[in-house]
């Protein structure tokens, strides 16, 4: 008995009191409530996507536990081809965009983290300026058109290739690396590229993972730029399709149906599209989660 108490207390810092049963219960309740609050919408979305129309109507909307689960909604959305195509487009934009953005951000951040770079401060100020003031929709639209990027995937990637926030996170981290390490590499004859690739990057896995995730999520969610810059529906990304499906159930769409139009998709189909849009990012998170806290904090508190 005594031994177990010692073992228990040994896991706590010396200054921490022994937890009380009601304290633990309260924490458990609070955490349980938060987990439920997070899980409830997700579970209801998945459950509704697996429900029949009749069940959805009987429940007055979202379903929590489908009694007669069916994959019909998924069959419908994948049979149409538009969701599949948009999924492929989004994967393409997110993967290419993330790689391009991370490469560009790493190089810019590394370059501007070194002392003595000509014009470095000016470029840094411009980057910071872009965090405070955006050009606006119309100037960006005109820029994209003039650069010949209109109706290409590049329009979703190039205008926002480097995010000032991500750039600052990485630059701050790079500046915190011991300068002796980099200097010794230089003495050994390594150039900047070699130092970046062989020393800096291996030490920066955490912040780079985080920045990659930020970029990936941003590209995956590309909606407004896709709406403005992509004319061909075959190039549409998943968020555009998602919005189209989700809003179709609104009365606006019903207003079209007087002469026997195609009825709007049911809630199950809408939720199925939501699930399809959620899953890829959801799959990425667990692999990057361990880097997350470390990566953000390391960039955030050093400067």
């Amino acid at each position: 008995m005594k031994g177990s108490t010692v073992a228990l207390t040994s896991k706590r810092p010396a200054w921490m009191e022994r937890p009380t049963w009601y304290g633990l219960s309260l924490k458990g309740l609070a955490l349980g409530f938060i987990v439920l609050a997070v899980l409830y919408p997700f579970v209801s979305v998945v459950a509704t996507s697996l429900s029949t129309d009749r069940e959805i109507v009987a429940n007055g909307g979202l379903v929590i536990w489908p009694t007669d689960p069916t994959l019909d909604a998924y069959r419908v959305i994948f049979a149409g081809g538009d969701v599949t195509r948009a999924l492929v487009n989004s994967l393409f934009v997110a993967s290419i965009g993330t790689v391009a953005s991370v490469c560009a951000t790493v190089m810019m951040a590394y370059g501007l983290s070194r002392r003595g770079v000509t014009g470095g401060r000016f470029i840094l100020m411009i980057a910071l300026f872009s965090m405070l003031f955006g050009a606006g929709i119309i100037p960006n639209f005109l820029l994209v058109k003039e650069l010949g990027l209109y109706n290409t995937f590049a329009a979703l990637i190039l205008p926002g290739l480097i995010s000032a926030f991500n750039f600052i996170v990485l630059r701050s981290f790079f500046m915190g690396l011991p300068s002796e390490l980099l200097d010794s590499a230089k003495v050994d004859g390594a150039g900047d590229l070699r130092i970046l690739l062989r020393i800096v990057l291996p030490l920066s896995k955490a912040p780079i993972a985080v920045v990659s995730l930020f970029y990936a999520v941003g590209y995956w969610n590309a909606f407004f730029n896709a709406l403005l810059y992509l004319d061909d529906t075959e190039k549409w990304t998943l968020p555009l399709i998602l919005r189209l499906y989700v809003l179709q159930g609104q009365p606006m769409a019903q207003g079209e149906a007087f002469a026997g139009d195609v009825p709007p998709p049911q809630l199950a189909i809408q939720m199925a599209v939501v699930v399809v849009a959620l899953v890829p990012i959801l799959l990425v998170y667990p692999f990057l989660q361990r880097f997350f806290t470390k990566g953000v904090l390391s960039g955030a508190i050093k400067g």
């Binding site: 009749r54 959805i56 109507v57 009987a58 007055g60 909307g61 049979a79 149409g80 081809g81 538009d82 929709i137 119309i138 639209f141 005109l142 058109k145 407004f224 709406l227 403005l228 004319d231 061909d232 529906t233 075959e234 549409w236 555009l240 399709i241 919005r243 189209l244 499906y245 809003l247 179709q248 159930g249 609104q250 009365p251 606006m252 769409a253 019903q254 207003g255 079209e256 149906a257 007087f258 002469a259 026997g260 139009d261 195609v262 009825p263 709007p264 998709p265 809630l267």
Partner: protein, 543 residues
């Protein structure tokens, strides 16, 4: 002075949305014969109406009531001779409410349509929910296509139209429209709404003129011995009693659902359509005693507990689901939603009997409805040389092919055997491929005149829908301000009305008293209501 077109979307689209509890101002897409042709538009010669000589309907058209068909016509008429494009290309931007179709080149129906057009129809399809953003950016970018649908979002429509778009009067006014037979079959009332700044600048996407007064599930009324859906009650008091009898919380059944109900009661109390013009003076609908009475009646119903609990915050889908599930006996929704309710309710329960609600007068007299669904939106044609404009209009003419024409069948159902087959009665039954490929929004560029037909609804649906339009259109009130413009309304109308509308919302939900309306009206007048009134009155007087 032209009308702002901001309200147009709220009409065609919004009739069904009708969320604006507390506002009878839902959308003034109306503009009847005597209202739309105001002084500033008086000099405009509209296209002559030349009816389409198509298959004989089962229920004839009469006045503004469209023809009705029990089954799909057996012999179709070719409405466009030759190929409109002759190798050319027309670019267009429009919106869609449906799943996106397979792209051009991978879409057999699109290819077939282009074969008939004799050229390329290059469409940019934008989700309706985001159309305004795309449209505005496209306009600002200065890269308009040959045809572009306009719904809302510009403050300076007349200036935009004058600078960028073709005056179609030169091509369509009077007898000139005869060159484009399908456009000539569009009713005059729709063309009246396309006059902007004293010129005919647009092609209408026409609708059924009125958005109606909602729907009832007669199954529940029949249980109370009420068989006549055109007269559910003799007056408001009797209706109050009926509503109480319909409500049975134990069975999770209520008479009505919130939010969607104000319009319905406004119709019962004969509230004017946005404004009432009386001897050159305008009275806003919200200022009328009828409106106050309607709000008081809704509050009385609220206090009696006949509204579905918690439905104040319901979305349109939730309201529709509650109606389908039999949780409510009446719902406000736009008449165009009838086909959807018809299908959904009957699939849910064999005894369900959805019918359009025909409003009766609160005092035993006649009710009214509003001309609030004349058009969905309209299409501008970009300025170009005459030949190009004519080419674009020939394409629009093709896309506006009426029901009963070969072109309509191609645009709506595709190619027989590939995109659809026919059932025993000759009604088209879309194949999977047809369902996928036929979602190209041709009808959001140029629309055919309305008809009453439902491929799966049969005779009963057509009878009910036709009867509803026959009953509703004669009592549909026009909005006297349509065709005229108030800059204050265009710019700030919604903002100015917001506090009033919020108050009404509070009243009908039991959070404020009806007596507070008078003070809120004073505030509305001071905040800009009187200014809006003055601007409209001046425009109507031709000042």
């Amino acid at each position: 002075m032209p009308a702002s077109r901001r309200d147009l979307l709220r009409t065609g689209l919004g009739v069904a949305a009708v969320g604006a509890l507390g506002t009878p101002l839902l959308a003034a897409c109306g503009g009847g014969d005597d209202a739309g042709g105001g002084s500033s538009n008086a000099g405009v010669t509209l296209p002559n109406y030349i009816p389409f000589a198509g298959p004989t309907p089962d229920l004839p058209a009469s006045g503004e009531v469209p023809p009705g068909y029990y089954t799909y016509p057996k012999s179709l008429v070719r409405s466009v001779s030759g190929t409109p494009l002759a190798g050319g290309t027309v670019k267009a931007t429009t919106m869609t409410f449906l799943p996106i179709p397979p792209p051009r080149g991978e879409n057999g129906a699109w290819t077939e349509v282009e074969k008939r057009l004799g050229g390329t129809l290059d469409l940019t399809i934008v989700p309706a929910s985001d159309y305004d953003a795309k449209f505005n950016t496209t306009v600002a970018g200065g890269d308009l296509p040959d045809m572009v649908l306009y719904s809302a979002g510009l403050n300076n429509v007349p200036q935009f139209a004058e600078a960028t778009c073709v005056d179609l009067g030169e091509y369509l006014a009077g007898d000139k429209v005869a060159e484009f037979k399908n456009l000539a079959a569009i009713p005059t009332v729709a063309w009246q709404n396309c006059v902007i700044g004293g010129k005919l600048y647009a092609l209408p996407i026409c609708r059924n003129i009125t958005g109606g007064s909602g729907f009832v599930n007669m199954r529940f009324f029949k249980e109370l011995g009420i068989e006549d859906h055109t007269r559910l009650a003799a007056n408001a008091d009797e209706f109050f009693e009926v509503a109480k009898k319909l409500t049975d919380p134990g069975k999770d059944r209520y008479a009505l659902i919130k939010f969607a109900s104000t319009t319905l009661f406004a119709h019962m109390f004969r509230v004017p359509n946005n404004w009432r013009l009386d001897g050159g003076k305008l009275v806003a609908a919200r200022e009328t005693p009828e409106y106050k009475e309607a709000v008081a009646f809704i509050r009385k119903l609220h206090d009696a507990g006949v509204f579905y609990p918690g439905s104040e915050g319901f979305t349109g889908v939730q309201r529709g689901n509650a109606f389908t599930a039999g949780q409510v006996a009446m719902i406000y929704d736009g008449l165009p939603a009838y086909a959807g309710h018809w299908t959904n309710l009957r699939a849910q329960h064999a005894d369900n009997d959805p019918r359009p609600f025909i409003p009766f007068g609160h005092d035993g007299g006649e009710g009214v409805c509003w001309q609030d669904n004349i058009m969905l939106a309209y299409t501008f044609v970009k300025k170009a040389d005459k030949e190009k404009v004519k080419e674009v209009l020939r394409v629009a003419d093709f896309l506006a092919a009426p029901f009963g024409s070969e072109e309509y069948e191609l645009l709506k159902y595709g190619v027989e055997g590939t995109h659809f087959t026919k059932d025993a009665d000759g009604n088209p039954v879309p194949s999977d491929l047809g369902t996928r490929e036929l979602t190209v929004p041709w009808d959001k560029l140029a629309a055919n005149p309305p008809v009453v037909y439902n491929a799966t609804g049969g005779k009963q649906y057509t009878d009910y829908a036709h009867q509803a339009l026959s009953s509703l259109l004669p009592i549909a009130l026009p909005d006297p301000t349509v065709g005229f413009r108030s800059e204050t309304q265009d710019r700030d109308g919604t903002k100015i009305a917001q506090p009033f509308n919020d108050l009404v919302k509070d009243i009908v939900n039991g959070r404020a008293e009806v007596s507070a309306i008078d003070a809120a009206l004073d505030e509305w007048r001071a905040a800009g209501g009187d200014k809006i009134r003055g601007e409209y009155e001046n425009a109507i007087a031709g000042k």
